[in-house]
Symmetry: D2
Subunit: 357 residues, 4 copies
């Protein structure tokens, strides 16, 4: 029971991969936010399957409907419900795994927890649910953009192929290639790697880096809902994520305090730091510098190879590799990371309104 | 405004480093849990300053009082309040930084957010607040132990000195040395490194690894409060933490699906996995295998060297290295990581009671 | 921003009277609850307009769709989304009041709060939103019925016409007449009164009494979410409600302790009370006796007479009585009161699972 | 598990009548609110026992300590913890009822729920817990007073003795007599009645009326946390409360819409209503008029007469009337009603900050 996220800008998602569709209710979007249907659709299209040769060839239109909460193109302060009907749910694809537990999927654990499982395409545990988050995130992004806050994500690694640090990249070029890495040479190598993996009927992991620019100082709610902790919570809730780090991250554990500390200086009347190992967050509160973080995605669990497993009766069972799946999840994860970051920031913008009398 | 953690087993902490003391209220502890004062004190002692030559020489007794919620040695189902008076708060130590922003501390961001700051020892942003978490975590641990769930944490790296994987360690030996690494040779090298860093008036980072054994299948609340996401949220809320990963973590991003997938087999009537790259959690729900994760701690920001900074009037200011601080936070972070893990699991135990009719 | 109700069995409603429709997401319904579509429809039909000569003649079919959360006729533990499309929304009926503030409606206050208002039929403030609560409540009722808990509501007064105390009534006869009062003579007088009021183009208030039978001892969460406080919160959230009392209620304020106290006795091995001025709740926790309460509904604000008011430009404006509205809300409020009571109890059933180790 | 109240201005209370003391943590008080210790003490003194001949003669000093959250007389935005030690807890008074269930008390239900009970003076179910609410409410009142919002409560009835409507009273005179009724003649009769009841070793109920002046339009969070629903939730959570009504309340159920509707007119540039049956709240949102409500208190359950009951072994048992208790709770309930109203409004002030972009 935890299908809601956020305290004041709060989303609740619903729906399964092979039911009627996927949806989201946003409760707490302030009145007066422009609801730009084209932008929401554009964001959904960035996430949808079948968009390029390196994603699953399964095709879904991911067209959405607004069910409530808007009037004459603006939010009204009432709940905004968005619904994305499922149009291409070929349930028969899944009959062969109805009682089998796919390795590194959620089949066994859902059975253990609920005693019942919608086996069609993973049901609720399917990454299709993230379409709802992307739709809601588009509205959060629109709200944040009126405050000047910009949110970016891009693929920073596929397997052992790594892009340079974000400070050396032109973040306006993320959408220029199908892997969503704004470093053309690296992008090309990543794409080649994914094609190679796909041909071997296998899958591979990668990392998505998020960058938030122009976040004002003061956002974040210590001691338990620190800005980076909220971002981490959000990112770790995305399917296939195994890790989160911000600023210096795990590499920072090998540094000395004297090199890691970010000295302050004045930039006009603004307090700035010389370096940014803090990742734009100090004591859990934004300091006005760029917020940046990395999100680790494991290799997709569905592979096109036969695997040994068991079924719900406790018998050995072979899972055959079938269907249409992504060889690497990171290009489609980029808009999801952005959406979750936007939802966190929209929430913290509202929460921060209560910090002073 | 986020000084509470957990939904059903919910803690709220209060207090500053140099006020009257630090406290915690636990709301939602079931009735009938043994409240073992000796065990709570023992856990606090593991966290307290001044415990060894590699921690700060500042001495605090960290003796606690139970203010409410127990009767004849048991919890009553009502809020349990614990209070740890501050006994050694030498406020004068801090007057020299009253209006200066210490690099990589929360001074600037608290000022930016609240417009007011208790500058004495970091006030609310001080790691002293985590004593309250440790006290509450001790009660969660007691409750979990009656369910058979065991919680461990240890220091797995200091700087670039790394211990072997947890599966090669004897977790019963964590308390045998002052660094809390159950691999004696590595422990010795870690201690030497910290002494060397301290002598150079600097600080260094490290990693704490957590391991949870005997967690039953079924704990975790998709899609937003997945068990690992709750753990990540908890760990990222600890002072100085820069990253969290579980199971294969960031290393898993370089693996293929065919090597990363954890095949299932039967072990008697129990479903088990051959490998455990999943880290004991699949689809956000425990699968009965060991849950393990790594928490990255940056080098302590307070160093014994002079640093350039600015003050709240926007003037350049030098921060002089003074006082008594930890050269490396990880040995004292071990009981904090355990406490937060215990709080997450206690909460998820209760949440899971509602999963089936 | 408060379109959710409940902590563990939690509903979130969305939708406006003249948009696409009304919906609800239930998050936290345990897996394995029978989802009886016929029963949900039956409950919606009890609330729908146009059902008798004493309700509005506006006709809406109130047919619902299940969008998610069920599989083979059972809940799966995932969010259950229900949607009720609007089919008979004659927006033109409302153009004459687009910028006028109807007396004792929410027009002015929504404008004051949000700066924007969907004026069509009250938008979100329309009682049509309660259809979503009734649909969700039907599922809560089904769950509770498997636990033996029975929930009743009936009309106990219309204007100054009062039915006898619930202990003198046969609660199985509530649906036998269109006013939903199980005392035939009183029912007849109530219906006559409403017809008379309607003919005079006016409206009238009334009281709905709720009765919960077989609630086990132990439900309720002191000190702030006492069972009766949760019921009161739920009832006061229903449109047009002005008051709530349980047990002896306001009449109890005129009694002496010696007459008001409910003495205990043993009934076999069960602790019972001789009288029940406590209304089945003591210290905020159910004691196993009948829970009963009264909910006050004001006269419907929309009357068929001209009224003086102002518009959003601050000019005097006349509101003309038009459209099709209820002369008295209580007969249609009965299923809403039952639904909210069921939602409160379902939530408290789950919350109580955590009270003991 | 529900010892917290409020969403943004959130209090968590702890403590029992005969333990170490009673306390409260306020999480979410904005930084910069004046913390006036004298005012907090004054409010506690209004609630404390032994203050006059018509309250219990038990004496408690109710002196409080601030444990955290303030610096130089102002709130810092961090949790404010207040503690009121128990000084006069004569536990021996309660040994005679250790295993007996006092009629209309919470003894039986706490045992049923938790399986364990602190029998000393009611433990957590004691009204002593409300001292913590009064202390927190004093801070909320201070914050609201800087916004111009005024909060009053007074005794409007004792038994069948009723004061005139609040609009006919001078609310500045509430503290002029020991019953806290600002109508001197009625006050005198109420006091006589209570004395008479006390002499007959009995108790009596009464009503407290609350009035909020100068609440700006726009506060309240539909559809489930309407301003009046939040007030009702708060009041029904006070010990001994049996009912809540606002505006026309139960009396409004006997009115016609044509008389009950509050017509609008302009008062300068301000929208006002001619009458105020709405009680200052329309559609769950304040409209700028006075908010007024009535809270029903039952007669105190502890009477000085012997009563028949049972004990926890299921045996008949006589409860002897002993100790020092209030013959009527309403004079001491006045500051509690004010405190809870202030906490609701402080929360809604903060919540409303998110209603518009």
């Amino acid at each position: 029971m935890s299908n809601s996220f956020g305290q004041l800008f709060r989303i609740s998602t619903f729906g399964e991969s092979h039911g009627r569709g996927i949806g989201v209710v946003i409760d707490g979007c302030p009145a007066g936010v422009t609801i730009d249907e084209n932008f929401i659709q554009k964001e959904l299209t960035r996430r949808k399957p079948g968009q390029s040769k390196i994603t699953t060839q399964r095709r879904e239109d991911d067209e959405f409907e607004i069910l409530s909460g808007t009037f004459e193109g603006k939010s009204t302060g009432t709940p905004i419900a968005l619904f994305i009907p499922n149009t291409n749910a070929r349930s028969k694809d899944y009959s062969h795994i109805a009682d089998k537990y796919r390795p590194s999927h959620a089949d066994f654990t859902y059975d253990a927890k609920y005693g019942i499982r919608d086996y069609r395409g993973g049901g609720r545990s399917s990454a299709r649910e993230t379409a709802a988050r992307v739709a809601a995130g588009a509205i959060a992004k629109t709200m944040l953009s009126t405050l000047g806050v910009e949110i970016y994500a891009y693929v920073s690694s596929v397997g052992d192929i790594h892009a340079p640090a974000y400070t050396e990249l032109d973040l306006s070029r993320i959408e220029e290639n199908i892997i969503r890495c704004p470093h053309p040479d690296t992008a090309e190598r990543m794409i080649e790697r994914i094609e190679e993996v796909r041909k071997s009927r296998d899958t591979i992991g990668g990392v998505v880096t998020g960058v938030i620019k122009n976040c004002p100082p003061g956002w974040g709610e210590p001691v338990f809902n620190k800005l980076h902790a909220a971002l981490g919570h959000a990112m770790l809730g995305i399917n296939a994520v195994k890790g989160f780090e911000y600023g210096s991250g795990f590499a920072g554990t090998e540094m000395r305090g004297s090199e890691h500390n970010d000295s302050f200086h004045m930039d006009g009347d603004r307090v700035r730091t010389d370096t940014n190992y803090s990742g734009g967050v100090q004591g859990g509160i934004s300091n006005g510098e760029d917020i940046y973080f990395r999100v680790a995605f494991k290799p997709v669990a569905t592979i096109m190879k036969d695997q040994e497993s068991v079924n719900s009766s406790g018998e050995a069972a072979t899972i055959s590799g079938k269907g249409r799946h992504d060889p690497c999840v990171v290009p489609r994860a980029v808009p999801i990371v952005e959406a979750m970051a936007a939802l966190v920031l929209a929430d913290h913008y509202l929460l921060n309104k209560s910090s002073k009398l």
